[in-house]
């Protein structure tokens, strides 16, 4: 066809007729993904997919290696974002209407209750899956070889997940919201405990100032709700999106997911949708397919075997879609059966008894019962610092990408699990039976309790025990496994105690059925 012979209208007609082809071609620039080349091009040319490598290591696709935990966490966030967007259609952040809006969502909006449940449970499930994801990273020794900083970002994401959940908890403005807000704002004000002891509160009231900024006043009210809403809707989502972007970007920068240095033959491409083509394709062998060649720093994949890779399209994306639908189905099934709680309208005069924080903070509430400062800020701060430091204090490069490193690691994990559980249960049992300093010497100075309380002792024990493990095994890696295991065990057991075993007036009960009836 020669352009010169065609009239303008002719060209227009031709364009109109070929619109289907040209439109498809405009986003599938390399044609249908039929060859490795075009499959690669799909990934590279697509905005949403280009975050992935064009090829994916088979180890990455092994379900037993990642358990899909990171993906599930991400998809939960996506679900929470979308369902949250829908909820915003009805919600308005005013103490006069927020509660009624939630009631309306529950009662007169088709699929409203389900949507609210989905939002609530996907958010809370995120906490669990982010923690599990972290556990996977620790136990597979994956926080090394350039991934140290990504671990730090991961911890930031964990914190953001917590705070996002917490701020969401406060939006319905029911009794749960109100009293959680009261408790949280007072934890924010907890440094007062310390400044009081040094007598500098009147000059430097950092705790009080934090509380005031958080609440927009001295007591929870309309301003607090507006601020919490701002946090929940704009600031924290922006933060988590940014951190998540960096997190993903760094995964790619650091050479994709971690994998063992040697992947056995049996792991290689058996029965992939698109089996690896060892020859052909646009890329020569012994090359990675990312931009990391241009970047400075360690690119551990460069010298490794690329024989164990398959094209990401479709292998990786099938896996991702499957995990997404799995996550979605799981959340919807859970949401179908379990309703998100909604209590009475907020009442400033009558606290819930027991006034419990959301469950994921009940481990902290267990600690707060000695010292608000240590339990609410000091200990969590130290725990987070400890988590952040793990990749910097354990720099052994062996056993990279292997679950529990070796047999010894597995033994250390089991041992730490038992020791950690014994320690936390023991300390809880002691405190529940005998009380603590305040019960023995009611007039004791608060400084003593800040310095010596079960939480501190527990933390000290955990640190000491992991140091002992390092000394015994001569390996910092074992110390890291031990420390993280005990952290996880403490968090789980303290949370369980706070959720199930604590009743009215924070008394101990074996089950909620023994609570004195209110």
């Amino acid at each position: 066809m020669s352009n010169s012979t065609q009239t303008g209208l002719g060209k227009y007609k031709e364009n109109l007729l070929s619109i289907k082809k040209s439109f498809l071609g405009s986003f599938l620039r390399s044609g249908m993904p039929t060859s490795d080349k075009s499959r690669t091009a799909v990934v590279v040319n697509n905005f949403f997919l280009h975050l992935h490598g064009a090829k994916t290591h088979t180890n990455t696709l092994k379900p037993s290696y990642t358990l899909g935990l990171g993906l599930i966490s991400f998809f939960l966030l996506v679900i929470a974002f979308i369902s949250g967007g829908f909820l915003m259609v009805y919600y308005s952040p005013s103490i006069g209407t927020a509660f009624n809006a939630v009631k309306d969502i529950n009662f007169v909006v088709i699929s409203g209750k389900l949507m609210r449940n989905i939002h609530k449970w996907s958010g809370e499930a995120m906490i669990i899956f982010v923690l599990l994801h972290m556990a996977r990273v620790v136990y597979t020794n994956s926080y090394k070889r350039g991934r140290e900083f990504n671990w730090v970002i991961g911890v930031v994401l964990l914190i953001l997940t917590f705070v996002l959940n917490l701020t969401g908890y406060m939006l319905p403005w029911d009794q749960l919201s109100y009293w959680a807000l009261v408790i949280v704002s007072n934890i924010a004000a907890a440094p007062k405990e310390l400044t009081d002891i040094f007598g500098i509160t009147q000059y430097f009231d950092i705790g009080g100032a934090t509380k005031e900024v958080l609440l927009g006043g001295t007591a929870p009210g309309q301003n607090s709700l507006t601020r919490v809403y701002l946090l929940h809707i704009i600031l924290l989502p922006l933060g988590i999106c940014t951190a998540l972007g960096v997190h993903f970007w760094r995964v790619r920068k650091d050479g994709g997911l971690s994998k063992p240095d040697i992947v056995g033959d049996r792991e290689t491409g058996v029965a992939f949708i698109s089996p690896p083509q060892k020859t052909g394709g646009i890329f020569p062998t012994h090359k990675t397919y990312g931009l990391m060649e241009l970047a400075r720093g360690r690119t551990p994949a460069v010298d490794n075997d690329v024989e164990n890779t398959v094209t990401s399209w479709p292998n990786l994306f099938v896996a991702e879609i499957a995990v997404f639908i799995f996550t979605l189905a799981g959340v919807i099934a859970y949401s179908y059966f379990i309703d998100a709680p909604l209590k009475e309208f907020a009442n400033a005069a009558i606290p819930e008894n027991p006034a419990k924080a959301p469950w994921y903070f009940l481990g902290l509430q267990e600690l707060v019962s000695y010292s608000a400062f240590m339990g609410g800020q000091g200990l969590p701060g130290l725990a987070i610092a400890g988590l952040l430091l793990i990749p910097y204090l354990d720099r052994e490069q062996e056993h990279f990408g292997i679950w529990f490193s070796n047999r010894q690691g597995r033994m250390v994990a089991i041992e730490s699990f038992i020791v950690g559980a014994a320690a936390v249960i023991g300390s809880l049992a002691f405190v529940i039976n005998f009380g603590w300093f305040r019960n023995w010497w009611p007039k004791i100075h608060q400084l003593w309790i800040i310095a010596i309380n079960p939480g501190n002792l527990l933390l000290g024990f955990v640190v000491a025990y992991s140091l002992f493990v390092i000394k015994r095994t001569g390996s910092t890696r074992m110390g890291a496994i031990s420390l993280f295991t005990m952290f996880l065990v403490c968090y789980v057991i303290l949370t369980y105690t706070g959720t199930v075993l604590r009743g009215p007036n924070w008394e101990f009960y074996w089950s909620a059925s023994q609570w004195p009836i209110h």
């Binding site: 009662f107 029965a271 896996a319 979605l328 099934a333 309208f345």
Partner: protein, 468 residues
């Protein structure tokens, strides 16, 4: 291997997803109210007497019903189930289809008033459990039982009108409230004693305010209040409330309690026909503020709750020996160390005029004859002899230390009201005794002590406050 694993995961997850979308859709499409509305429509169609009625019945559209009342901040969705509430054809039908009983709706059109303004319950809920606010639905104001419902009428109407036109229960409750002396301990609008809790707004207090531990049946406001009237200590073990009510009275008072709500109705809803204030004379004031403790005031009582004897203040023997000024001080300032609280305006809201009326009523039967003067000053009192006498004669009622109290019939003699009283007054009391109380006459009329002995005893009593 992986591909099959992921494809299977995808397939199974998708099937689960589709299944749950299906059952969720089914649940959303078949809410409880839809069932009731279908029943209602079917009933009307089946029982239609003529063609036009049938046509109208067939035209009924099934859909959520709502009465939105902006000024009351309510969105009543009750009619989503109770669609027949205005339909005279449904007078005999079963709930939820039955027409509203009585002629209340004539003057209270549903479009203007809605339902929950009288019946309470959760306006926005669209299923029975939550709309009625049953237990564990986290709604503070469950649907109000019909026996207490008249409590809602007083939001807009005055009691005089209610008494005449369909609000007898709450009107009688209000009367009872004044007659049983509730305000002797409870403050309402700043008026009343301090022993009990302020009951303002009790009808709109959130559930969590009440301790429901001992409540029998549904844990809600109404059962709490009713059972608390039946037996205060069964509900609040440490309660010091004195009540003796029949079951009916307890119900009436419960109804009346439901009128104490904090929210006020908008002006255009209220209808005050008779602004007649109930007659407030000495007797009714006595009943409002005094009767709960002093009963009719003729005889003294040892009270098991207060663990002390409550004086008989309308007894002639008492009123004869006390002058109005002394009474007024006691009423205004109260008696320290006893349950008698101060009643002056700043403390309990009783004006001087009110107190005067009460004094008039108390002293109504005061005998003309003043007691024969004792002439205390004539005697030279011997405190030591007084002590000896006290230890045989007075000790077993007033206690060795003169403090009275638990297990003792006598009053506390170390009370300022006794210690600061005129010895002449005390001597006359000892000499003549107090009729209607266990305080017997120790004078010549009774136990035959001579005046010197009495003077000695009084002198000793006067020194009690200095003892440890």
């Amino acid at each position: 291997m992986q591909s099959r694993f992921y494809l299977s995961l995808l397939l199974i997850s998708s099937l689960v997803l589709i299944a749950f979308m299906g059952i969720a859709f089914n649940r959303e499409m078949n809410p409880e109210w839809k069932k009731y509305q279908t029943e209602y429509k079917d009933f009307l169609v089946k029982n239609a007497k003529d063609a036009s009625t049938r046509q109208r019945a067939e035209r009924i559209q099934i859909g959520m019903q709502q009465i939105y009342i902006k000024s009351l901040e309510r969105s009543d969705r009750c009619m989503s189930c109770h669609r027949g509430v205005e339909n005279p054809l449904m007078a005999e039908a079963e709930q939820p289809h039955r027409q509203h009983s009585g002629n209340y709706l004539e003057n209270h059109p549903i479009a203007k008033f809605g339902c929950t303004v009288c019946h309470r319950g959760q306006d926005r809920a669209t299923n029975m459990r939550e709309a009625h606010g049953e237990e564990h639905t986290h709604w503070d104001f469950p649907i109000i039982p019909s026996k207490y419902i008249q409590g809602s009428c007083a939001q807009c109407h005055d009691y005089e009108m209610l008494r005449q036109e369909g609000g007898e229960k709450v009107a009688r409750g209000e009367e009872l409230f004044r007659q049983k002396g509730c305000q002797g301990c409870h403050k309402i609008g700043g008026k009343g004693g301090d022993l009990g809790k302020d009951i303002a707004g009790i009808g709109s207090r959130p559930f969590a305010y009440f301790s429901m531990k001992h409540v029998v049946g549904d844990h809600n406001l109404y059962n709490w209040v009713k059972q608390h009237f039946d037996d205060p200590r069964a509900i609040v073990p440490e309660s010091e409330m004195r009540v003796f009510l029949t079951d009916e009275e307890a119900e009436l008072l419960t109804t009346y309690m439901m009128t104490f709500v904090t929210a006020e109705m908008p002006r255009n809803y209220t209808l005050i026909k008779n602004v007649i204030q109930p007659k407030i004379d000495g007797e009714s004031l006595y009943k409002m503020y005094c009767i709960a403790c002093h009963s009719d005031g003729r005889v003294s009582l040892y009270d098991e709750i207060f663990k002390r004897t409550i004086p008989a203040i309308r007894n002639p023997a008492f009123t004869r020996s006390i002058d109005d000024e002394h009474l007024r001080t006691i009423i205004k300032e109260g008696r320290k160390g006893t349950q008698m609280t101060a009643w002056k305006v700043s403390a309990a809201g009783l004006t001087d005029a009110d107190i005067n009326k009460i004094i008039m009523y108390i002293t109504m039967n005061r005998p003309e004859k003043k007691p024969e003067p004792f002439g205390f000053l004539k005697y030279k009192a011997d405190v030591r002899h007084g002590e000896e006498l006290y230890n045989i004669r007075c000790e077993f009622c007033h206690g060795a230390e003169g403090k009275g109290g638990e297990g003792f019939l006598g009053i506390n003699l170390r009370n300022p009201a006794v210690q600061k009283a005129d010895p002449e007054f005390l001597a006359i009391t000892v000499r003549d005794g107090r009729e209607g109380t266990p305080m017997v006459s120790f004078g010549m009329k009774g136990l035959k002590l001579d005046n010197q002995d009495i003077a000695d005893m009084v002198a000793y009593v006067k020194t009690l406050s200095q003892k440890k």
